[in-house]
């Protein structure tokens, strides 16, 4: 296998770390040295030649190859089996509707939320239960980190360069979770979004930081969902009224009440679409009176359509803690779901 990337020699592991940090090639954390052997192992697992074109970034016209994604995936700690997910996430991010350049350059400071569905979650040992939005497992930690390192190194999405975020958020280190499909009667997210259930799939969304809610004081579906909707209304008031994809993370304790009452993800989305909306005049209550102008009576829903709500079953077995994950800037970037591709008619690349 012929790799095209420039090679550097470093005397020891400390020298590797200093080379990568001082060159601006990291997120500030130590990296795994991307040797030719480790990068080739990723490419072989995905059955891709190094110069396989994964896509051309639509705004700046940068060609993204499998080799470069693999180098960054290794740096993030990915094993070869994690690499197809990184490939799929990046393929999804390069779709026009995701607006990768805008989403990753914006002062708004969003991260790329990656949601995994299908059998690959189990193959990779992901966990959608305890600490689902935190450091829940190795696979989601390194996949999310790989997505960010690729942005840093392939798109110059470095703070103060292309990344103009005012604040950013901790999800910019890694923001990946797996849906808890085994402990849910709902359709998995990928099936809800039109992918076959048996397939593995990746959903990417330009996302703000999670906003946690808690309601352990009811079993009524509408009351539970009202808490989620209220947090979305808060986001509409305090952040942005642009409608678009929101995600909600529903833990076992809350979804058991919803599922027992027969509520599907579609029912949930329909209810929240009706409830998560504000009048423009409410902005005057939170210090934004200057932009209400003569449109105080205008109504702004969090989503243009109910199917823009991504309902994800995840979280530990106990606790009425859910989360809403708001969009970067509503309709400017759309969530994209793609199946994890399998090369069924090609041979592995020759060494």
């Amino acid at each position: 296998m012929q790799l095209a990337s420039r090679i550097y020699d470093a005397n020891d592991i400390s020298a590797v770390q200093e080379l990568y940090h001082s060159s601006g090639w990291t997120d500030g954390l130590p990296i795994v040295p991307p040797t030719a052997e480790s990068v080739e192992a990723c490419l072989e697992w995905a059955m891709m030649p190094p110069d396989q074109l994964i896509g051309i970034e639509p705004v700046r016209g940068l060609a993204i190859t499998a080799e470069k994604l693999a180098i960054n995936a290794v740096m993030a700690g990915c094993l070869p089996m994690h690499f197809p997910v990184v490939l799929t996430a990046w393929t999804a991010m390069m779709q026009d509707e995701f607006l990768m350049h805008g989403a990753t350059a914006s002062t708004g400071g969003c991260a790329v939320l990656v949601v995994l569905n299908g059998p690959i979650r189990l193959e990779l040992g992901t966990s959608g239960t305890f600490n689902a939005l935190g450091n829940s497992d190795r696979a989601t930690a390194v996949i999310g980190r790989a997505v960010r390192l690729c942005l840093i190194n392939l798109m110059d999405v470095r703070p103060g360069v292309i990344d103009r975020s005012t604040l950013g958020h901790p999800g910019k280190f890694s923001f990946c979770l797996a849906e808890d499909e085994e402990d849910s009667s709902w359709l998995p997210l990928h099936e809800q979004r039109g992918i076959e259930r048996a397939a593995s799939a990746v959903t990417v969304m330009a996302a703000g930081a999670p906003r946690q809610i808690m309601n352990e004081w009811t079993t009524e579906p509408k009351e539970i969902l009202e808490t989620f909707a209220a947090e979305m209304r808060a986001n509409l008031r305090h952040y942005s009224i642009y409608p678009g994809n929101y995600a909600i993370i529903v833990p076992k304790q809350l979804r058991e009440h919803l599922q027992a009452a027969g509520w599907t993800k579609t029912d949930i989305a329909d209810f929240i679409h009706e409830r998560a909306r504000i009048h423009r005049r409410e902005w005057a209550e939170v210090g934004k009176g200057a932009v209400v102008r003569d449109r105080g009576d205008s109504v702004y829903p969090a989503m243009e359509r109910p199917d823009q709500l991504l309902v994800v079953a995840a979280g530990g077995p106990a606790g009425g803690f859910g989360a809403i994950i708001p969009p970067w800037l509503g309709h400017k970037s759309h969530a994209v779901t793609l199946p994890v591709g399998a090369c069924v008619d090609c041979d592995p690349p020759k060494k």
Binding site: L3, S5, R6, I7, Y8, D9, A10, N11, D12, I13, A15, V16, L19, Y20, W25, P33, P34, T35, A36, V39, V59, R60, G61, L62, A63, K68, I71, N72, M75, L99, H101, G102, A103, A105, S106, T107, L149, N153, L154, M155, R164, L329, K332, S333
Partner: protein, 93 residues
Amino acid sequence: MIFRVLDPTAEKAPPAGKLAPRLDTLEGKTVGFISNGKEGTKGFFLHLDRMLREEYGVAQVVSRTKSNYSAPADARIVAEIKGWDAVVSGLGD
């Protein structure tokens, strides 16, 4: 132990983004403004318009605003650029 490690960057400059040849003078020229449409652009471009006409003898200023401030300029705006001698693309943050 020597580590032989690989460059994680694109290693190639983006194909776009080269500057157009510089103009010798602005006098009598047509200058286009492409605003991202944010609030901060309004005062800036208003002032720049006046400065270019009054101090640099620019013949005409054409102002255009993108429909999405986070995305590239709309095709209809890009198509107009050929008719301009210079472009000022401005952000309002």
